[in-house]
């Protein structure tokens, strides 16, 4: 029975992080936006759900609300990208992510402050729901990337000049990229809250951003299938090593540290030797006739 509930947990968390990784891959892998504050989407999505679910709003509506809030946050965030170069923007987003977390930590009226916020809503067949939504997110990003819009944001990733010369409004495309990424990230946050039934600011430490970055770079940026692969690999490792303390003579603090060392080294090695990831993006060639 225990093993069954554990598998349930693993399926849920992997599906949720896959959605979260898809949202980062959409922004960074496809759109070239280096967002080191990705966790704020998770944060806004989760808090929207926690607050609305407490008020008795039903599951579907609260999820849609979470996606809307998060998408709007992404849209607002994109305004800072207008006059910032890629890496500068990365540093700024890291700062914004922390500002958001410290806000929720200190404002008790907003959502319980450091004590967090809990609600008791059980969703039947929750793993079916998360898997379906993960599949839908995957299909959605694939569909977007197959559209003309997808081709333009890919072109923008390679530099602003070419799309500008074709008369594309680069900034407006970046805004949409951030908003769509935010909507997907908000969905991940919403499911994260329903999975845990309790959230507090500790859940939204910058380390969550780095783990999801590890998923995207290990899997292969710019390829949704690769991102899913990365999410599954990292989650197997992350959740699986929790059991290592049962048969290894180390305490849980050291174990947590060792686990993060492996994640850090993995990011480094992938960047050093396989900077395209384990499932690199396929180049699509268009026939010129």
């Amino acid at each position: 029975m225990q093993i069954l509930s554990f598998i349930n947990y693993w399926v849920n968390i992997t599906a949720i992080y896959s959605i979260f990784a898809l949202s980062l891959n959409f922004q960074y892998g496809h759109g070239g936006l280096i967002n080191f504050g990705q966790v704020f989407f998770l944060c806004f999505g989760a808090y929207t759900v926690a607050i609305t679910a407490q008020l008795g709003v039903n599951f579907a509506v609260s999820i849609v609300l979470a996606m809307a809030v998060s998408g709007f946050v992404g849209f607002l965030m994109s305004y800072t990208a207008r006059n910032m170069g890629g890496t500068y923007w990365g540093i700024a987003t890291l700062a914004v992510g922390e500002i958001v977390r410290i806000f929720f930590l200190n404002e008790n009226w907003a959502a319980g402050g450091a004590n967090g916020i809990s609600f008791d809503v059980k969703i039947p067949y929750f793993e079916m729901v998360t898997l379906t939504l993960a599949a839908l997110s995957f299909g959605f990003t694939r569909a977007v990337m197959a559209s003309p819009f997808g081709r333009v944001i890919k072109a923008i990733r390679e530099g602003d000049n070419l799309p500008l010369s074709l008369g594309k409004d680069v900034f407006s495309f970046k805004k949409k990229t951030m908003a769509i990424g935010g909507i997907i990230g908000g969905l991940a946050g919403a499911l994260f809250a329903y999975q845990k039934q309790f959230i507090n600011p500790e859940d939204f430490m910058p380390i969550e951003t780095f783990i999801v970055w590890a998923m995207v770079v290990v899997g292969g940026k710019g390829r949704d299938m690769g991102t899913l692969g990365g999410a599954i690999i990292i989650q197997i490792f992350y959740v699986g090593t929790r059991f290592a303390k049962d048969f290894l003579p180390i305490d849980s603090n050291t174990l947590a540290a060792l686990r993060m060392i492996v994640i850090g080294l993995l990011i480094m090695f992938v960047m050093m030797y396989r900077s395209k990831g384990f499932f690199p993006e396929k180049r699509r060639l268009y026939k010129v006739t």
Binding site: Y88, T254, I261, I267
Partner: protein, 308 residues
């Protein structure tokens, strides 16, 4: 309120000194290698823990411990450059930046695995310190200000008076041109890592000397240090000093200033009574400043104008 000003100045100076000495390595590395090294503050934490090892665990004198920690951290920084970042001189800046993110996670958790997550303090005698102009200095704070001043002056002399300093300035101005003038830029880069690493280690040790250390402190200071570097303009070591002073003072004074006068337009209106930034938001101040600089003046206050 006014009686607190001297003490606030002292606190601001200490914050500034630590940020400046850590920021110097980051700004040089950012300038010469063209990427923001997120692992830089982890070098400070490593230095702080090496001092803890020498000073507390094997009971050596604090001065010896700090000198050894600075050298070892400098060597470690050189080693990391050889092993990791040397391969990435020619690629776009995103790749080394993400690599440094991975490196920072690895170092931080390495420290956590070796020394544990507990808060640590050095073996320093508590003393009453001295009163200067109504402000209280501990002896360690006087030493900190002294060491930072000496290091800064020393580094200034190195840059301006020695051949190595000239080579560093040339490499930072234009790497290709420096290479064409037969400057061994790879060797210069190694020196930059060494100096940056040792300075960071000293900065980390100063945090431990003044207060306490824990493995997560590297992340706590990474944004403030980036903020200082960007305020001053990347590659400008005098800018780092000015940026550190600005940030140190704003952070310490910010939570004591009553913004009511400002909002009431100096007495014209009477909208609010007292508007203070809550103490809990003190750590947010550098974050907000950072975002504002990046939005409006990414080249910093003293930044060299790098043409488009």
């Amino acid at each position: 309120m006014y009686s607190m000003i001297p003490q606030l100045i002292v606190n601001s100076l200490i914050t500034s000194a630590v940020l400046a000495i850590i920021g110097i390595g980051l700004t040089m590395c950012f300038d010469i290698l063209k990427f923001g090294n997120f692992a830089h503050t982890e070098l400070a934490v490593l230095g702080a823990y090496l001092v803890f090892f020498f000073n507390v665990q094997i009971q050596w004198n604090l001065a010896v411990a700090m000198a050894l920690a600075a050298v070892l951290t400098g060597l470690f920084a050189m080693f990391v450059d050889r092993l990791v970042f040397k391969k990435m001189r020619e690629v776009v800046d995103v790749i080394p930046m993400i690599t440094s993110l991975g490196l920072s996670i690895a170092i931080r958790n390495g420290i956590r695995a070796i020394w544990g997550s507990d808060i640590r303090v050095y073996d320093v005698q508590l003393s009453s310190g001295v009163q200067i102009f109504g402000a209280h200095f501990t002896y360690s704070q006087i030493w900190i200000l002294g060491i930072v001043t000496v290091s800064m002056v020393g580094f200034h002399l190195l840059l301006k008076k020695t051949k190595l300093g000239k080579a560093m300035r040339a490499t930072s101005d234009n790497r290709d041109l420096a290479e064409a003038s037969s400057i061994d830029t790879e060797r210069v880069t190694l020196y930059v890592w060494f100096i940056g690493g040792s300075f960071a280690a000293l900065g980390g040790a100063m945090i431990g000397w003044d207060t306490q250390i824990d493995p997560m402190m590297g992340f706590m200071i990474v944004i403030p240090v980036f903020c200082v570097v960007l305020l001053g303009g990347i590659g400008n070591i005098y800018g780092v000093i000015i940026g550190a002073i600005i940030l140190g003072f704003v952070q310490n004074f910010g939570i004591f200033i009553d913004f009511a006068t400002l909002i009431n337009l100096g007495g014209l209106l009477n909208i609010v009574d007292r508007v203070l930034i809550p103490v809990d938001y003190k750590p947010v101040i550098p974050f907000v400043i950072l975002v504002i600089i990046l939005l409006f003046k990414p080249s910093g206050i003293l930044g060299k104008e790098k043409g488009k």
